[in-house]
Symmetry: C3
Subunit: 680 residues, 3 copies
């Protein structure tokens, strides 16, 4: 789905200011001044919308939406389920979650209702229906914002019961479950379904299959709740789209499972620009990865639903954005596929938990602030970039980042309980492409591999049913695959593959067997010494943490370990498999290794870059491809001026000014180039 313009706006809470008509009036003026065209309303307004059970008060909301509409501002309308009213918590204890310590929450905070409770579902259905009946056909309303930042787990009896039901459906018999969970270990065999309890510290936590299925169930149950909400509003008007705002590296919920329950993906991004221990480029890379992930979910443009126009108030340090950084941060989202820049929040609340969270309008109330001017500039620019809407990023490279794998890896006991670092590993394999300006899709094991040239599997510990076969077919047909140590260890129920690892036929794909894996203490190192392979420079690279000791069968050794008792044994191998090649990186290497290795591979595989040149450190370029024109966003994430030279003919998107192969970028500057569409 597409909107008619790039959206610019954010969370708007007029419900906090109903007794201040002067402020509500000022809001409209200020919004226009800031080039706002769309706001999200009603996100935590339940206690205003239903002040007592069954009595709805929607008039104030209608006045707001209509007024916005009459002033040219669209509304993304929220369902209010993100925070339940106090009267409901008090009357229906079952809607409050039971936490991992098995005590039931009192009332308070937000994002903490039971996803299973029939009472809560019914209350949500009723108010959603009423909201839809009143507003779904309002011309100002363009999208449903379902609840807010879904997340969390509930351990109440209703959820436990639903979990049992879900397990029965999945396994059919207790015998099958006992086998899949390997319950003979520590005498954990279940003899009755009702003996099964969710994993908690005071109970069972040592059955990996149980832990994994509990994670799956929690995503399932949340998804079920999302669909429940979606259906309640779609029943009134099926064609009004819905979204749910997702979050940064949110481990709890498998977003790949959730993606089809919403019409458009949206997410909340809060980069920590200006950190002391991480450069702007490193921060940019982490967020680029998440933007790419969100775009990859549906392989369509997404919405940046929340971001801070200045600082946040919940990070350890609320650092102000340096001049230019707000534009840069906003444009980064656009470059990676967002069709919006939305803020949390429009105006700072006067009291409570987020009263110091950055906003377009400060407690001060005026527009003569640095932040307001920054925001208005972004608004102006987005208006000029409306032509980007039909474009989207295309990728020849895919990195597998899989939630089920994440859960299983993080739950594995051994080989490094002090840190397996799945996320960091994935990012270190993503970084080289970001630096080269090569688009990457972030996929999971359920995705198709068709169309990619290169598929990367960092620590793909858990192989879901059929994925190894997909990989073999992909490689056989000419694809290139790269895997690392700690890949192919367990199956989809977290049982180890027998007969040699990587399992499920991957020994054949990579032409080797992993005999054992050495874990290094922090501060211990080994090295990778490339052999004469011609693939990359013969220099040594430092490795740490995990060193896989493999025995090649058909694989060719490209690099070896430099020290310890396994000095000389393979550290990097390649195996010809059908028309393709399968690389295996046996150890956790420093970033330079990944850079050189993927640099060589990019050249070998002729991977498309956004611009055909080498980019300076801290600068990247991202391409959104269109039918006739592509947009290449060039971003300088450094505090110094940068210069780049490239062979393509281009012009500045907004001005049409020609750019003849050379571009100067001020500190933190971002330039959007218009190029002829790439041939792909």
């Amino acid at each position: 789905m597409q909107f008619s313009c790039l959206l610019h706006g954010g969370d708007y809470n007029p419900d906090q200011w109903l007794d201040r008509p002067d402020i509500l009036a000022a809001d409209i003026d200020l919004m226009k001044k800031a080039h706002i065209n769309c706001v999200s309303v009603g996100i935590f307004a339940w206690s205003r919308l239903e002040p007592e059970e069954g009595r709805y008060d929607f008039d104030w909301l209608e006045a707001i939406i209509t007024n916005l509409y009459q002033n040219g501002i669209s509304t993304i309308l929220a369902t209010p389920s993100g925070a339940k009213p106090a009267w409901m918590s008090r009357k229906y204890p079952e809607i409050r979650r039971v936490s991992r310590d098995m005590t039931r929450d009192l009332h308070g905070k937000r994002h903490n209702h039971c996803y299973t409770s029939p009472v809560y579902r019914e209350k949500v259905r009723q108010i959603n229906t009423a909201l839809a009946e009143r507003f779904a056909h309002h011309p100002g309303v363009i999208l449903w914002h379902l609840s807010n930042e879904y997340g969390g787990k509930c351990y109440c009896p209703l959820c436990q019961q639903a979990f049992c039901g879900w397990l029965r459906e999945k396994y059919g018999t207790l015998d099958a479950l006992n086998k899949a969970w390997w319950t003979d270990f520590w005498s954990h065999r279940y003899s009755s379904w009702d003996e099964i309890e969710a994993p908690v510290p005071a109970g069972e936590e040592s059955v990996h299959g149980l832990n994994l299925d509990w994670n799956r169930f929690c995503t399932h149950q949340t998804n079920d709740f999302i669909r429940w909400e979606a259906e309640s509003v779609k029943a009134v008007r099926p064609d009004l789209p819905v979204t749910a705002n997702f979050m940064y590296f949110f481990d709890e919920l498998d977003y790949y499972t959730l993606k089809d329950s919403v019409d458009v993906i949206s997410w909340d991004a809060y980069p920590t620009w200006g950190e002391n221990e991480e450069s702007e480029a490193e921060v940019a890379r982490r967020f680029a990865f998440n933007h790419d992930l969100m775009r990859s979910l549906k392989k369509q443009p997404f919405l940046l639903m929340e971001s801070s126009p200045s600082a946040t108030n919940w990070q350890p340090v609320s650092k102000l954005k340096r001049p230019g950084v707000h534009m840069l941060s906003s444009m980064q989202a656009i470059a990676h596929g967002s069709n919006s820049v939305q803020y949390f929040q429009w105006r700072k609340s006067r009291g409570a938990f987020e009263k110091f969270h950055g906003a377009v309008v400060d407690h001060y109330g005026g527009s003569d602030t640095r932040v307001f001017r920054d925001v208005a500039q972004v608004g102006e620019r987005l208006e000029a970039l409306g032509g980007l809407i039909p474009t989207c990023n295309r990728s020849q490279v895919a990195i597998v980042y899989d939630w089920e794998n994440l859960w299983a890896v993080n739950d594995a006991k051994g080989p490094r309980n002090c840190g397996l670092k799945y996320r960091e590993t994935v990012l270190s394999h993503y970084a080289p492409f970001w630096k080269m300006g090569i688009n990457v899709d972030v996929i999971d094991e359920t995705c198709d591999l068709d169309g990619y040239r290169l598929v990367i599997l960092p620590m793909l510990y858990l192989l879901r049913d059929g994925f190894a076969e997909k990989l073999r077919r992909f490689t056989d047909q000419g694809g290139t695959v790269v895997a690392t140590y700690w890949t192919g260890i367990v199956d989809s129920t977290d049982l180890c593959w027998l007969g040699g690892m990587p399992g499920d036929g991957l020994m054949e794909l990579f032409g080797l067997r992993s005999e054992e894996i050495d874990a290094l203490y922090d501060g211990q190192y080994n090295s990778i010494k490339p052999q004469q392979s011609g693939l990359f420079p013969a220099k040594d690279y430092r490795v740490s943490e995990l060193c896989d000791l493999v025995i090649p069968s058909t694989a060719q050794t490209l690099a070896v370990y430099g020290s310890d008792f396994y000095a000389g044994r393979p550290a990097l191998t390649v195996n010809q498999f059908g028309q393709g090649e399968a690389y295996y990186i046996a150890a956790r290497a420093e970033d330079a290794f990944q850079e050189d290795f993927y640099g060589a591979l990019a050249q070998k595989l002729h991977l498309d870059r956004a611009l055909s040149c080498t980019l300076p450190e801290g600068v990247t370029a991202v391409r959104r491809s269109g039918d006739s024109f592509d947009a290449v966003t060039v971003m300088n994430f450094t505090p110094t001026p940068q210069e780049i030279r490239f062979p393509e003919t281009a012009e500045v998107w907004e001005t049409g000014a020609p750019v003849n192969g050379a571009l100067s970028l001020a500190p933190y500057e971002v330039v959007v180039l218009k190029l002829a569409a790439s041939s792909r």
Copy 2:
């Protein structure tokens, strides 16, 4: 109120040794040897005083008090409420606290009864009355020691109910409360009084107004309990004074609210002399501040109620006091306004939690120990310093240290959740005066400003009703006020001031508006560069953590930032306001800045010093003023000899030996000088 001599003694627990008459007899001999004239008795003796419900056994106590009296030793008699007997905990569960995790305590430890429980109050009233009837007129008893170190919170239903009642009284209507607490945020609006619960992790913690009021209520309820105790003993003899021992930087209770419930302020000081990471002078400064705070509560001399004659047993390291340090530490209290040096404890207990806490008499039992000799020397000296009793410290400078502000600052989300450091900031503004030998009062926002020349507001985030007006009047009439960043942000219900900060008219007082505040990560720095203002030397000072970006209206810029995008913007300003001046320090500066700034200000305002000279690093002097003579205590907190020269004519207090403008101090030495009374 005053006692006839400087008190010297401490906590005495004969109830632990009733089966050892030999030890009780030895105690009297040893006390005389140690120049003890006053002990505190019965502090945790309830299980001995009321061994079973309703049966009091006071005979042993009378024998002790009488024997002490006959040997010239007064008694401070405790009410026993600090620790309840086991039989009472068992029979009346309601007297045991409910903790923040909403579970009720079992029996054990101390300081953990419910302040609301009618049962506990009645039990306390009964035994206090009985004690008073037996002992209030005993000639040996000079003071009531109410309970011990009041503190802590209870979350039981009785307390919750009392909280609700307190809120109803305060706000009148739910609407008023909802508005004051900004409950529309996150849909937290209450629709019934009984929906309100105390803030706990499993419930509500995100409503700042609730958190703040809960803190206020807990002080209120504790105060109510203290008054209940005081009334129960005063009903028998109204003129026997009461005290309650306060504690070092005790955040939980607003001592300014409690001060009128006792007749004399007393407190327990346990300086950590000999630390590795803090010099003796730094430790001295922290404790000097607390002594000054205790004196400022009633603007009268106070009592040092507990201190260790050697080490404690509850700090991370129980370091022995170096020779001279016990005298120095004891005299520091006297210098800042104490009329006593009391110890915890007279004799070490044989068993349980504090058996290794320092005491005058060790398990060994003899007087031939270093510690005993140190104590006896202090006793002798206090006898020679009896003339100090009618003197007291006077201050021209006040630093605002306000508990409600403390609670609000520490609860604020942002701008530096990793540490706002209110306490450290206050201390860094106190330090320069300590170094110069200038007396300081520590006041809160309820105090009068009359009589001060300089009032300092470090991080005065929360402005109580009327305080800004008081500041404006004070400055208008010629006073000087200094504020820092993060001042004037919220009102008394923790709602942000609208229309610009610092709020409530302080923009006018300081002649500026704070536009935004930058938070720096640990390890990030900026600098303050003084302009040609003549106020202090033109050198740069390092700043960190918080940098306020202000826009002056009428204020004059005295110093600017040295780097980052706000280089050149004001970092220190002054505003002429009526007859006075208002300074604004925009960033957290290194100590040297405060030293130079307040040094210049002291000169400009002609602030009185204890001695008219510059004191060496680690040496300070404190003046207690009398009608005809002042006492100036000069203290060397360094391990090396020090020399000072000053113009005043003086003599050594105890000996009358003349001191003609020069004084040599041995390591850790303390000298009390007698000077003509200052003219003030």
Copy 3:
């Protein structure tokens, strides 16, 4: 008791593979290949053995045991109480523990049944009896493995009640208990037995006597449970021995109290070879100490019941063993008195908590692995070393390591709450003997001192009744005793000794009194300066953490403090007492001090060494003495070759090759020498 050969094998879990006869068959072949002669079976098999209440299924177990037996492999048969079946937890909640937070566990994990529950005891008795009736006379079964790694505490009402009963029996009257626990402190006097509760955070934790007695009771109750298990199997066949596997430095249970409840001591050792911050020699020393402790319990050879053939999966880092290390680690156990090398585990489980724990057989399943070859080599060597069985280590030196002292020291408040480091102190007094190749017994205060020449008391804070008298007699008759600071502080009920410390007559033994003890912050140091005593070189040694200030009466000062106000005061003394000598080390000294001091003492007392020579750093030698021959195991714990020269005539045990006074050791090599029996 003795077995006919050195045992080689480990935990075997066929119950996890009952549906894989191919794997069960392969197991037998692989065991033979690995020279396995004994496996432990059934350790966590309860849910397989009693799949529903009262229905036992032992047929599969009989098939396994018989098959093993027919293939020459013995069985150590486990009782299954280490993990209860889920159906039992569900039906009988009382068998689940109540934890320190006073909530009852849900079902899960292992090692968490209530030791008091009559229901659990009865269920255990029934299945143990049934197992014994079926298997106790099976020719393949050689030993009972009672449960697994007993440990943990339960706070349920049944345990609390049993605790009260135990206390009544111990103290007789409440008065006696009140006195022993010094309950007048903080008004903690009990007026009824049922007021006593186990120490928990929400209740009482400040009565040291209560804490100590609770620890004693938990050992008592565990021991009672162990005896219950032992009796249930011995009732069927009294002469089949039992063991229970103990653990490394397991603070919870006083193994000296447990030792007589089993026929043979066994324990589980998991050295962390290859750590970054500790050398192999340091790791070796820690484990040598524990091996010696296990041997000292019964002064007989013990069994190494568990060890990892490669890495563990539960330590922070699962580091592989370097070549040679598995042999070295296994032989270290043998050297210190083990008659077995058993592994956890034979084959890796496919799923759940320990699926990556090292095993002889990997998921791979083949014998062509480095680990399998390492194991087979150990098996071969153990076969060649069968002659060691009748030998055992003999010691002239005893170090007191006492659990009651450990509990009391760790519970003491002061003088260094940031770390008293009892364990580290004991190890630093053990280390010199390990380096010299001198056997040490690790005893507690209940042990006889007869036969030792040197008894060492590191931080013997708590003196049990009669131990001081034993020490005086030992010294009087010519023994040498060495004590440190913080010795002789409390009696057996944790009451401080009055009249001077070290108490109970030890002032007389050591000829001094401890006046006070200074605690140093981390980073603060003092020094020990030896005087002209001729005992050891006159160099200075660094001291830290604790400095005892003693006043000698009859003791002679051998070394003094180097700095601070107690410079020149005694830091090391010796006192002639009867025919013997008593040394007192007043401060925590660096290792070099202990090395030089005990080196001199070893020479003075003519202590026997395994070999009459100085051993290189990281090399040690341990002697097992037999009737005609002794075995001296020489171990190189360094990664470099080492050479030693010694005067004794010897030959290599396995080959008979003569070793004429010189021995070269490869990195990590271990050599067993045969020498003529020592004369002792």
